[in-house]
């Protein structure tokens, strides 16, 4: 079986599992802290969390192959740290470190390792850290880039619980003074921030598709002035715009996946997260306009998606951050490099 078939099969299985298991009730349970981890056990049993691991025995699926997996997670607002774990296990395998059981969380912050072997630095927000058996990050030591891992149980004293818009288990952690459980040099295809940005762009693209779908369904059923509101051109035009934004986010995220697979330093992450963050903002805005007051209620499922879109928009850099990064690179490269780099 070709690798793409394995990836398609897994995306399909994951879609079926999440369609059966994820609902407004299970999302609410996660968010109010009474959720259980039974769903995570299903995921582990599927073997899906290991597919991006590299090495002789591993599936070693690339970004393009896994794009749909991430989009499925976004489509269902999956109450699982699967995206982080897929990426984390890949990083561990790339660094040749042992992979612990259970979910992982990722640090998107500047951390260093001092001469005494202690970490220095803090992360002001780590999604899923309270669930993670290990927390991974990149630390600098002189000119070296090291992947480090700290046990979930070791950080609880240094962790401050946070309530993000996503309402997934989240914490701020000050790593200063901690000794990593494991560390090893890593030559990853991109920084954790870039990789997380692409992951968030894929999640956003999946969630945007879902939100547009919900809004179209509502517009075709909700009647006012004697006809479905979707018959009004004003709404059709707004939904068409939302659909354009979702399409651009998907294109941009998949483009970034291809760039990551080719392992060249690239602008893929910046393009993807800029485009997806704009889409997250605009698609959620339009969806709430279409749904009217009912979309603002706790009872309606819309907010499980739009709150995640708002959170993911800012995670790993918002659109202003990434357009700034990209623009600075373009300016520094100079006028003569513009078109050659766009067509490279």
């Amino acid at each position: 079986m070709s690798e793409l078939n394995i990836a398609e099969l897994l995306a399909d299985q994951l879609e079926k599992l999440l369609a059966a298991e994820v609902s407004a009730e299970s999302l609410a349970a996660l968010e109010n802290g009474t959720g259980n981890r039974a769903l995570w056990q299903h995921i582990e049993a599927m073997g899906v969390a290991d597919v991006m691991c590299t090495g002789a025995e591993a599936a070693g699926l690339g970004w393009q192959e896994c794009a749909e997996l991430f989009r499925v997670l976004g489509r269902h607002a999956a109450p699982l740290p699967l995206a982080e774990t897929l990426l984390g296990r890949r990083l561990l395998s790339q660094a040749g470190l042992a992979i612990p059981e259970g979910p992982l969380a990722l640090v998107d912050a500047d951390i260093s390792l001092d001469d005494a072997g202690c970490l220095q630095g803090a992360a002001d927000m780590i999604s899923w850290a309270p669930w993670a058996t290990a927390i991974l990050g990149i630390a600098r030591r002189g000119a070296e880039t090291l992947l480090f891992s700290v046990a979930g149980t070791a950080v609880s004293a240094a962790a401050t619980e946070l309530h993000s818009l996503e309402r997934a288990p989240t914490a701020a952690i000050d790593f200063s003074g901690m000794t990593p459980q494991a560390q090893a040099p890593i030559a990853a295809e991109a920084s954790i921030r870039e990789q997380l940005a692409v992951v968030r762009a894929l999640l956003i693209s999946g969630a945007c598709d879902k939100v547009v779908e919900l809004a179209v369904e509502y517009a075709n059923t909700r009647k006012q002035f004697g006809k479905p509101i979707g018959k009004f051109q004003a709404l059709q035009h707004q939904l068409a715009e939302a659909s354009c934004r979702a399409a651009a986010a998907e294109m941009a995220a998949k483009y970034a996946c291809r760039e990551l697979d080719q392992k060249q330093p690239s602008t893929g992450a910046a393009v993807a997260k800029y485009t997806a963050s704009v889409a997250a903002r605009e698609v959620s805005r339009i969806a709430h306009q279409v749904f009217g007051a009912i979309g603002i209620t706790d009872e309606h499922e819309l907010h499980y998606f739009t709150r995640r879109l708002w959170q993911w928009r800012v995670d790993a850099g918002n659109e202003r951050y990434w357009s700034g990064q990209l623009g600075a690179r373009v300016l520094a490269a100079g006028s003569a490099q513009l078109w050659p780099s766009l067509t490279a």
């Binding site: 075709n220 483009y255 393009v271 623009g327 600075a328 006028s335 067509t343």
Partner: protein, 384 residues
Amino acid sequence: MTAAYRFSPYAVPPQAEALRAEVREFVQAEASHWSGWQIAHSWTGFDRQLSRKLGERGWIGMTWPKRYGGHERSAMERYVVLEELLAAGAPVGAHWVADRQSGPLILRLGSEAQKAKYLPAICRGEAAFCIGLSEPDAGSDLASLRSKAERVEGGWRLNGRKIWTTYAQDCDVMIGLFRTGFSEAHGKHKGLSQFLIDLQTPGIEINPIRDLTGESHFNEIVFDDVLLGEDALMGVENDGWAQANAELAFERSGPDRYLSSFPLLPLALAQLGQAVDDPSIARDIGALVAELTVLRQMSLSIQNQLESGATPLQEAAITKLLGTGLEQRMPGLIADIVEAQPLRRRGDKLSEALAYLIQVEPSFSLRGGTNEIMKMIIARGMGL
């Protein structure tokens, strides 16, 4: 599930990339003669001499069969040539319409005689085509057009008027849509036919219309008992609506739908220099480059689908809507970033290009179907 679009990243294959350096070198040599005002015209700049040079190099009708003067090269090789020309603002208007629309239409539906007559001339860059669709009372509602063609002994008689036809005054041939069969009461989309019309034919009067820049690109064309031979009918009688529509995925997704204002950007970067410390400028430039990157990917993805025989009309409408939106935003935004006066001043390419583009950008979301029509197509595809 509503519309699931088929956008996937597509890399230009190495064989097509191999052509890029050659085209870029040619364009750079030519570009030294072009003013800022000229490059801002992009694919609406009309220069027969340039078209002939491109024809000599085999860069027109690139994908068409060799027996009709074509070069049997891949669609991606053609794409590389198009985007290199547009990025530099080359005045390619004298062959653009023929290469993009009229030639492929003739190739698909024309008679053997029509192919032999027109295609080799297009490939040489010697036959300029225009499209006769809109009428004074039929714009976005194109199917309500009324100009008619009646069967007469030995051919057809045309009466009526077409409007907004770009460069009709300089073109050789028009492919026009005329009512041949049923009246509008039978269904607006029925009974329309396409005709190949030599613009030198007696009875045709071409009246240029001055636009707001002071130039005359488009025209009103009056047909007063214009007699055409049997061989003027293009494709199937009364099937013209479907014929004209089949080309739209090509027309709406090419690089000409997002690069019309692009030549401003390298000029602006050159003026800004490499040491810019204003983060808001970096953000604006970064946003433009991100959008250009995504649109190019969308456009390439559609090109790839068209190659494999699909007709991605929804995707093309999305790409056009987003692409022309970017083209329209660029002139104003760039003028603000560089704090340039949009004015015609000899030798100041950026100011000249801005002066032209700020005046014509409103047309970008009109030509090839308005934004409102694109949104209608997208909404329909979404099941609304």
